[in-house]
Amino acid sequence: MSSNVKWFYGRKNETQKIDIKMNNTIQNIVEDLTPEASQSLYLLSFPFYLNDDVAMNLLVRSGLANGNASDLINEIRSFPIWHEETRRSWVIDDDVREYIFSKLNGSAETIRLTVLNAMQEIRLKPEELSQSGNLRQFDLQLARLSLTVEHEQEKGINALRKFFNENNDETLRVIDLYIDENLSSTISHIKILPDHLQNAYFMRGSYAYKINDFKSAMHFLKPVWKRRSGTYQSVQDAAVAAHLIGLIFCKEYRYKKAEDAYRESLELSKQVNNLIGQAHVSHSLGNLLRLNNRHIEAKEALERSISILEDRGNQSDVAIVLNSLGGVLRHLGDLEGAKEALERSISILEDRGNQSDVAIVLNSLGGVLRHLGDLEGAKEALERSISIHEDRGDQANVAIVLNSLGGVLRHLGDLEGAKEALERSISIHEGRGDQANVAIVLNSLGGVLRDLGDLEGAKEALERSISIHEDRGDQSSVAITKKNIQNIEKWITKIKKASNEQTRKSVFANFHLESATNLFYSNDFFGSLIHSKQALSHTSNQNTKIKCYEKIAFSAYRLRMLDLAAEYFEIVLSHERDSASIRATYANTLSEIGEPLDNYEYHFKKALELDENHVWALSWYGLSLAREKKRFSEAVELARLSVKLRPNHSALLYNLATILMTSTEIKDILEAESILKQAISVAPPGFHLAKIALEKLSKTNL
């Protein structure tokens, strides 16, 4: 396995023929030396670095020097066949070493071994190395030399592994080089890797992963994982290898394979009781499950990771996993939980002075606060994040957070501010040549310009976004945007046709009202709210105004802006516009605000008068009674009726279960549990409330 072919790293191209003229010159020099000096040169060509101490020591220990080691070294150094490496060390020239190895009939293992033994002896007396500077340097070259002697390879690799654990990039690079010089990379005939080979493959694979050479990483890590022996170290390494392979699969969007790798890695980490390993894999698994919209499982994995890391006092890693958990909780609708996780993460990172990560988590927090309706808080978090990224000169992240800030400013009604933020974000992404993100932000800008009534500008932004998506072969988001553009074009034509200012205003009002309706039904309640308000400002028509009030009330309700919703429902009712939905939602709004039953029960009754089968009036009425802890059986009856009228509706089932859960009777709780299970089985994607409730219920001692 060991050969003298490859271990002149950095030497000329291997295919280059040996330079005969150069060899003749070297031969002349060797012949010119005294026989003792010539013998010494042969020996001194083996170590990679020498200094006078080591060189003399080697000559003495090998029996070549009879009290004249210093003369021999001087004689050798009188020819230009060596180089100073550092001030303290020197090395025989590669040409000369190559010549000498060719004369030594193949691998010259005997001499190598002599040198190695002598060096090992020197190492046992570090005081003799006092002048040689660095023990670390000596040990590294000892390990490197061991790799060139077949039966010493195992020792050499184990020694390198110690350096490898320093986790210093430069050291890893050089270790990779040393192993590459001496170890064959074909092991196809070996079913179970001997420990030293597994060790070597592990180091090369991990390094390849670290420098993003995933193809090599896969090549080296797979045998570490699949062809491990049963020793403790091999299982531990296999666990890390499987984890890294999982991460590579993830990058290739091969999620199923990634999950398998993670799960096996977890299993292997458990076998060797490596808790930190389990924490890291659980974190990766959590991220993977989250990407696959398996949020409940993701949450479990991340919580497992956090719990281990907390036990071990590994706070900085806890902070990172908390950031991931925040994302999962947000998807699960547990916004308060998400906020808490992210705030904890920020607090830990701030304690550790890790500003760049603080900035990233602040961006996540901004998103959560926005969904919680705390727009000012969101704005503050995002502006802080931007300021940190700016201080660090991290433009890419500035642009990303500016996009989020644009969204928040839009929701705050500061459309001009939103426009400015998005335009800045686009300009940075453009400057960095990041077209994919330019397209995404252009889409947001199109929305804001439409909100502002700048239809031409909106059209242009959306068209540019489409063109970039199409250039990149990304068709997924093109269809919806095209439909939006068609709609905008329709309104541009109508506005152009308007003969006077009055008509123009009326067309604008209709445009905004239609946009509000469309956005409401595509669940963009902020958009709906903004456009309703815009429509209101353009119209003088009483009928249109009432429609606007109604849109504002319903959008505000969906946005949990309950006071605003209540205010506008009242306005709607005062204009004698009435319906079961208006009454039921108004009543439920007041109930959620915490008003006493007497203040809103009338509206539930009125709603049921208008439509006795209005499922939401029934369900919410029941829920409100339960909230007030009044008339339990009536509350259950109302909710049961709603479920009977529309079976298999997860939210209605959830409401019924919630009412039952306020009971102290075990039979009610058991029924609640079974209804929750039913709700979960019919829940649409994104509806997680039932799962969370069931989880809580299962933790309660009955």
Partner: protein, 273 residues
Amino acid sequence: MNVQWCDRTVVKENFGIWRECSNPFMLVQVFDTQEMQDIKKWIEQNAEPYLPVMISYPSDYPILKNELLKELTDELGGNDKFPDFNKEYNKDIHQLIPQIKQGVAEYASSNGAIEASSITQQAAIQISPLPSLEELRERNIQKLLDYFLQDFKKSCCSLQTLFVFQFKKLGFKSFTPDFKRWFHKFCKTLSQGGLGGRIKFCILNQGDLNELLELDTDYIETVYEELTFEDILNETDNEDFCYGVINPDKNSVKYSEFKRKMVLWKKKRNTKN
């Protein structure tokens, strides 16, 4: 042995011009390790009025930032004009290194490893692993550098210093990106730190200079491996010897081959005399 750099008139002249100018950086691409060593010696002898500080690293040995700083301090200390390296601090860093036992597991820290499709996802999972001790080590190295700069300013402010770096074998490009970034920053900080005009850096590199161009300079030289007939004639002043050495097909000879033959020839000539 009498160490001399064989005649490279143009490069020698340009070095002289650069020594007098205000640009702190000179980059020299060298193809032969023997010649690299000779240039270094030549610069050492021709650095005046600068104090030369010579640092050499082959690419098949790891350059640790703290070790490079130590090397620099040792070199400066060797000139009796620089205070001892902050030995305690350096020891601390070495003690810290073995503590990083979890090195391997830390690679596996998962964040940042999953590609994200949307901006929100990207931002949410962009955090890189936080190997805490590694971070601590970097911070300590920064402190060490601060100490070095402080000491350097105090002790060398009246001096003019020329740092000569040699990157051998695979050259500068083979080092890790982290080290390369650090090295650029180190050179720039030192050249700008209120000592402008009094510090120069000559970087001798085997392999291409592309990754050193960030050190903005017009002084970029390439020294090829081969010497021409004229080059060696200037050096030896003996046509017969030169005809015997030169490769007639190319009218040139490899630097190290010429150097060795010349030494043998001179030895033999001296013995005869």
